[in-house]
């Protein structure tokens, strides 16, 4: 009897010491934190600033509109000689590679649309619609392009961005972006899983044939390993 009592006491007392002097545990290790992004990275501003006024060169009182010089000498519609003043204009607009497809031959402050009708820079979307009719139709209905602000026009301004607020008219293809950091959780699968070659089992990949993409793909999977 006494032996049982003593051993029960010993077990209890040992447990008491163990519980009491067991150090406070470190907090459970946390999953990695969300990568921080800067405020500019998630800015809601448009990609480009709309050019509503005719372009020009110089600053302040030395500001000269294109037309102020261009009115002094005629331009040839069919000659494409790049002047030193136009070095910064990189025209990369597909088949639309003639300046005077869009710019007025007589008045550089104007753009020209169908039937030689001249319009100001504030109506640029009508110029784009000259060729991109289906996209223009989608844009009019809000199916193409950005609409920011309010969806309910009775509560606030709904701002539909025009073509040139996203696209550079001289090089309209939308640029590539550096992606913001990806997820930090393994619940979305491990990064290594993405190293597989999709081309082998996807017949839709084959139409592209061997492109320079091959090298970037293998390089990419090496980096992941």
């Amino acid at each position: 009897m006494s032996g049982t009592n003593l051993s029960v006491f010993g077990v209890f007392f040992g447990l008491a010491i163990w519980f009491f002097f067991e150090p406070v545990k470190e907090p459970f290790p946390r999953a990695p934190a969300t990568a921080e992004v800067s405020a500019e990275d998630i800015s809601t501003a448009s990609r480009r600033v709309r050019m509503s006024e005719p372009p020009g060169i110089g600053e302040n009182e030395f500001r000269l509109q294109c037309q102020e010089c261009h009115k002094l000498f005629p331009s040839d519609r069919d000659v494409r000689v790049k002047l030193s003043q136009h070095e910064n204009i990189q025209l990369n607009h597909g088949l639309n590679s003639w300046c005077f497809n869009c710019h007025s031959l007589e008045d550089r402050n104007k753009l020209v649309i169908q039937g030689d009708e001249e319009i100001g820079y504030d109506r640029v979307e009508e110029l784009c619609a000259k060729c991109h009719g289906t996209v223009f139709r989608d844009w009019q209905r809000g199916m193409h392009g950005r609409t920011n602000g309010y969806w309910d026009a009775s509560l606030g301004e709904s701002k539909r961005l025009v073509c040139t607020e996203c696209h550079d008219p001289h090089s309209p293809a939308y640029p590539t972006y550096e992606p913001l950091p990806g997820p930090n959780t393994l619940r979305m699968g491990t990064p290594l899983q993405s190293g597989h070659d999709e081309r082998k089992r996807n017949p839709l990949m084959q139409w592209r044939g061997a492109t320079n993409h091959d090298s970037t793909q293998s390089q990419h999977s090496k980096e992941q390993e």
Binding site: A16, A33, R47, P183, M205
Partner: protein
Amino acid sequence: MTEDTKPEFAEVTSERSFNRRGFLRNGLTVVGAMTACVGALSPLRELDGDDIPSVEKFLQRHYKEMNGDEMASALDRIRREVKKRWDIDPIVRDVRAKDGVEFVYALNLSRCIGCRKCVHACVEENNQSRSPELQYIRVLEMPRGTTDIEKGNHHYDRPTVPDDDHFYMPIQCHQCADAPCVKVCPVEATWTESDGITVIDYDWCIGCRYCEAACPYWARRFNYTKPEIPAADINPEMSYLSNRPREKGVMEKCTFCLHRTREGKMPACLEVCPTGARKFGNVLDPDSEVSQILKNKRVFVLKEEVGTLPRFFYYFDERYPRSEGTAEATGEAK
């Protein structure tokens, strides 16, 4: 004979039960047991006072059952809690659904470039936990020829996006009209509002995670630990059903930014989208952008076969590969 021996026996017994050795032995056992009890309870030292709900919060009623005064005091309690934890004065409101509004989201997969701006703008807007990470939107890099999200890659890390051989599919809560997450909730802590948004009463949620298991889109996220948000990153514009700070052990998910959208604004993910791939609006208005898209574009929903009737639609435009129509094709432009 028995009368003679009985008292003797009793005397001996009483002598034995109160002897010095027995007293010490039993006393030590009791003391040891009590010490062990105290020791066993000692892990309570680590309990954070914030883990215990206040009486006020414990007695708070379900969102739908609260009257105006009760809601006002609940909002005031949230305000005090935020002030105590982050030392900022938030604007906490209860933004109700409007009549004649049903929200629909449309996402143009031809225009999405996979830049993940929406993911991070959402985290910023909705006070999601930064540590551990919790994000409502996930962006999948999909190989051409499939919409099977199991074949997508979340962890793409290219120098630039988009990649020519992939398209990008962001997934968030689809605000289903027949939402499985609502059906499985054992305490009705989640429900679909009249404008189509499925919401959660974070104070009513018991954290059973049935809804997370029921959701075919994995749109719901669980707070396994106390959400950590730096004070500088807190968005002080809060609402009860959307972006107020959550506790450990509750579920959360995308609410189409209802604190913004119910007041006519666009959701944060749409505002930040650089390409205009995201479209949002009232489907009951036939001239709204989303109505036009549903009418004119070829839209589809994800996992149509599970019958959840999502209010989140995907669509494509025609898009030509990026390598065509560039400098090589039109070299004469130089």
